[in-house]
Symmetry: none
Subunit: 200 residues, 4 copies
Amino acid sequence: MADLIRTPQQKRSIDKKNRIIEAGYELFARDGYFNTNTAQIAKHAGVSTGIVYGYFRDKRDILLEVLSIYIDRVFTPVMDIFENLQAPLDFEPLLGTIIDETVSIHKNNDAIHEALHSLSSTDEAVSNKFLELEKDMTMNIVDTLKSIGYAPVDIYERVHLAMETIQSYAHECVYDLHDYIDYDKMRAGVIKMLLHLFND
Amino acid sequence: MADLIRTPQQKRSIDKKNRIIEAGYELFARDGYFNTNTAQIAKHAGVSTGIVYGYFRDKRDILLEVLSIYIDRVFTPVMDIFENLQAPLDFEPLLGTIIDETVSIHKNNDAIHEALHSLSSTDEAVSNKFLELEKDMTMNIVDTLKSIGYAPVDIYERVHLAMETIQSYAHECVYDLHDYIDYDKMRAGVIKMLLHLFND
Amino acid sequence: MADLIRTPQQKRSIDKKNRIIEAGYELFARDGYFNTNTAQIAKHAGVSTGIVYGYFRDKRDILLEVLSIYIDRVFTPVMDIFENLQAPLDFEPLLGTIIDETVSIHKNNDAIHEALHSLSSTDEAVSNKFLELEKDMTMNIVDTLKSIGYAPVDIYERVHLAMETIQSYAHECVYDLHDYIDYDKMRAGVIKMLLHLFND
Amino acid sequence: MADLIRTPQQKRSIDKKNRIIEAGYELFARDGYFNTNTAQIAKHAGVSTGIVYGYFRDKRDILLEVLSIYIDRVFTPVMDIFENLQAPLDFEPLLGTIIDETVSIHKNNDAIHEALHSLSSTDEAVSNKFLELEKDMTMNIVDTLKSIGYAPVDIYERVHLAMETIQSYAHECVYDLHDYIDYDKMRAGVIKMLLHLFND
DNA sequence: GATGAATGAGTATTCATTCAT
DNA sequence: TATGAATGAATACTCATTCAT
């Protein structure tokens, strides 16, 4: 007998729901999904354990909402860069901007990314949301590029590959900190590769 | 008084320990670390629940051993390619070989990779082992390349970046299967980028 | 400071209280007392969860009121039969009437009977109300019979036993539906036994 | 992944399982199924909460086993009476024996009967077991009676009705204790009715 | 009076780990 | 060494009851 999940309308309730999501965001990021319990989430959000189940079906439902927030935080800033893009296209500064923005996003959200992504393999809804995110980003970027006249063959593959490469680099920057790597030099390498990928 | 963890000497015992590790490997890969319990591992390995604690300090200790096995399985085949490398260096076929081998490795081990990597963010030992793996691979490859006379500036950055890029691509191939991507064309894109990265 | 339980005076309030009792009646009958929660009762009654505690001390208090209603529904129709009883007493048609009426009552109320009666063993108030019901029915019937001149020895025992027997039969009819039983023939058996019980 | 439920083979384990069932029996009888929690059962049985789930799938599974024990305790003694029954049939002492035995059984088991029976309305397995019990008893008694030459028309109805009547009486004796009833006189009434039911 | 959001104690169940045999 | 029964702390989720509005 599924007790109704409240869809909060009033400001105070929306706040409360958001506080729970934010608490989930922070705790999942810090300790991982399985090392975080609902009581901790409630406490961190400053609410009772019971009310959590007024807003969410179950713990996984919190995860899904956290995932949505995460996706929004990752997707939006990159898309904003393309928003006001104008021909003629000058790839070099564009790539630089995207790389720096992506690194910045990863710096703030990589922990939650790991926590969420790790569930992809066992939770299809999570997996699908990640796939969809990649698809949406690729499609949006391709559309924007086409709209300003850039439409080479294999554009989907190029854009997707570029995205992956940039994300790899950003992930490296945030986490790995190998002492034998100069990340600025690596950044130059990324740009060099991608310029070559897009030109011709 | 901490019960000693046996370091098995006899063949039968070594077998048993390995069976437990292999069981952990398969179950962690299939269901994830947190969705696998020690009783399942024991059963899958054909041993009693109790004896697991004769060979491993705790559940996490199994994880660490699984991680070692994983690292070995990923590291060795790539290094083997470089083993008999001879000058003069022809990058194009070499990259093709590495890419195909990496994709093949990922096909067999990506599930466990996800399961293990997801623990990086909350377990420093796991995180360090992954860092070390990347470092070892980079170092080995760089050494080999140098030994046959290839030693440009920024060689560490180039090699590391190439590795990351190839791994990204391999991961894509195994999992994502975006319907708008032709993975052979993307493979060509990877090779194109990397050739440019290494030449000059 | 115990919040006063309102004894509703106004028509609207009486309606509301009755709606809650009726909702309790239906849900307890369908799902049992422990499988019904107060939110469901409130919803079924079309009132808020909070106001339930304006009319009832607690959940058990609803139960007690439901029990009263139930007792009324079971008691009254049987007593009505005796209301206009006239000498000389002809037991056979009287028994037939009572049996059929009792079966009819059970058909409509056996589910709630089970739900309520099951609480007898752990709730003395419930248990007492059931005892009282039986006592009242026995006393009323005995009084009526005496008033029209039927007053054999052991009249209390006879009447009480007859009531029990008829209730057993009615319960059988409603629930058990053993395929090896012809319930009309059993009805004849009941009448045969009871006639013998009362004559001489 | 249903963890295996142990089916205990060794004496100590069987003892333990039985202790849990017996604990359930006593607590369900005293407090009812819903007012008893698994921790109480474990404590009463002198075992840990965890091991309960080694022997039983869930709390309801304990209930089902308790029900089986109950049925055995109620069924067996009555059947024993019929075991050595010999022609010619003398109903009067036989009925006396059965009534006294039934009252004795009810004295010891009526509390658990209420607790279990109350779940009939919401749990089909429970309901079916009760129906089956009645059927088994009726069938057995009818068979025995037929085997010694008593086989009137409507024998199923008569036997079933007799059983119900005796159980009603026994239940009355145990619980109701109405002060206006002399239970010995009522017992005589029961015998009188049943003799009439069976003769001719 | 009325609402329904909020509380937090309570419960069934799981599982890493221990231990008697 | 090996077994697998046993432990008990931990956790997701429920629900009778309260309370701010």
